[in-house]
């Protein structure tokens, strides 16, 4: 078919991992280029001159940047295993909660590693309120996408990361008592091979925690 798909990514970036998951869910063969963010390849700078960030998907030499733009592009180009529902209202809802995760939850989580004492407690409170929004969204559903994994599940993978890193740092922000549905969802998605392939390998998780505490949103989107 002459399709060439490349992904410029970085192992520690949740945005990059998100696109990898999307590629695997649609079984799209691709070439992965690991970027060293302190020494970006000329290709990356050429493909994403505006932000100079990962991930960038390159399809037949045409670049697409920004993880959510990439995921929608993929959904429209490869129609198997659709991510977004067909109904416009349900699509709007999926986009709304995905934006909520990116605009609200992720920045608050990033803040957590940099606060202490009372400020830390307040940040945890804020995270709990935000997690409650997602917990409510899972009511009566197997996945955020309904019966099947979808757009919002891909974005919500950050919850899996939160759960895994929580066991390492001892910071149990995502408690089972408060968020039973999220925990059930985590168990369900972690049974999927493609999800496991896109998680940070165990031996690198400590590094990831340190990295994310130092530089919340420096080089990836």
């Amino acid at each position: 078919m002459g399709e060439e798909v490349k992904l410029h990514g970085m192992w520690a970036s949740p945005f990059s991992r998100r696109v990898e998951l999307a590629l695997k869910l649609k079984a799209i063969p691709y070439q992965y280029i690991e970027e060293d963010l302190s020494n970006k390849t000329p290709s990356l700078l050429r493909y994403n001159p505006v932000h100079k960030k990962v991930p960038v998907l390159v399809h037949n030499d045409k670049p697409v940047a920004e993880s959510m733009v990439i995921i929608e592009y993929m959904d429209e180009t490869w129609e198997n295993n659709p991510f977004l529902p067909r109904d416009p209202y349900e699509r709007a809802m999926a986009r709304f909660y995905a934006k909520f995760i990116d605009d609200k939850l992720l920045p608050t989580l990033a803040k957590l590693g940099q606060t202490a004492g009372k400020e830390k407690e307040e940040t945890i409170e804020e995270i709990h309120e935000q997690l409650k929004v997602l917990e409510d969204e899972l009511k009566g559903k197997q996945f955020f996408g309904g019966q099947r994994i979808g757009y919002l599940d891909i974005v919500a993978m950050i919850l899996v990361w939160l759960h895994l890193t929580g066991s390492i740092t001892g910071q149990k922000v995502l408690s089972t008592e408060k968020f039973p549905l999220i925990h059930e969802w985590i168990e369900r998605v972690m049974k999927m091979e493609v999800v496991n392939e896109c998680l940070i390998p165990e031996e690198k998780r400590q590094d990831w925690i340190q990295l994310s505490q130092r530089a919340p949103k420096s080089a990836s989107n």
């Binding site: 399809h59 697409v64 959510m68 733009v69 929608e72 429209e76 209202y89 709007a92 986009r95 934006k99």
Partner: protein
């Protein structure tokens, strides 16, 4: 398909203006409701409990929040009238990229221009102009970002024009001098009724900003 359509909005909000333009472009009748943000209506709090913000588009009683999501929703439901988002997946991705860029940069930098002073303001002005220049590059020789007709990027960006006068007065600079192509594009957009009637008068916005500055104590 039409049903009942209500837009909860606040007159100077560039985000609200996006939905106003999209609905006007497609000739869709709706009820506009002005919110007092210091005294939000029960309806607003009920329809947008997560963010408690405007604009909220309520279609047959169901809320759609976030302006970019609203514009996409409007385009998908009323897809046969004045399409805003391109049909080609790659062109769509390009349009979405630039709308994301506008959302990340323009509002925040513009806010810094009217809220801050000294070095912080100078940096914000510089970056603001750089962003507009990048957008000028994307526009190129096209009539609109959407080509021959108004598109998603045009709708997302043009509302900020109503704040340009306020930015210029507060920042003591001329946007037209730095970005003439941008202003030429704005003027073309303003010739469209859907845009002209959706944007408030720039002087009114400036007066509003002056009021805000008093409240925030930055004068």
């Amino acid at each position: 398909m039409a049903g009942e359509l209500v837009l909860l909005d606040f007159w100077p909000s560039p985000f609200g203006m996006r939905s106003r333009i999209a609905l006007a472009e497609k000739g869709i009748p709706y009820e506009y409701r002005e919110e007092d943000l210091r005294n939000k209506s029960d309806l607003l709090l009920q329809m947008n409990p997560v963010h408690k913000k405007i604009p909220v588009l309520i279609h047959n009683g169901k809320p759609v929040c976030e302006s970019v999501i609203q514009v996409q929703y409007i385009d998908e439901v009323w897809h046969d009238k004045a399409p805003l988002i391109p049909s080609d997946p790659y062109q769509r991705a390009v349009a979405r990229f630039w709308v994301d860029f506008i959302d990340k940069k323009i509002y925040e930098l513009g806010s810094k221009i009217w809220k801050t002073k000294g070095e912080e303001q100078a940096n914000a002005k510089k970056e603001f102009i750089e962003c507009l220049k990048l957008l000028e590059g994307e526009l190129g020789d096209k009539t609109y970002f959407g080509g021959e007709s108004l598109g998603y990027v045009d709708v997302a960006l043009v509302p900020f024009y109503s704040w340009f006068y306020a930015y210029e007065k507060c920042g003591d600079f001329s946007i037209e001098a730095e970005c003439p192509k941008m202003i030429a594009w704005v003027k073309r957009c303003m010739q469209k009724e859907s845009v002209a009637k959706s944007l408030p008068d720039q002087e009114k916005v400036y007066e509003f900003i002056l009021q805000l500055k008093k409240v925030f104590g930055s004068e």
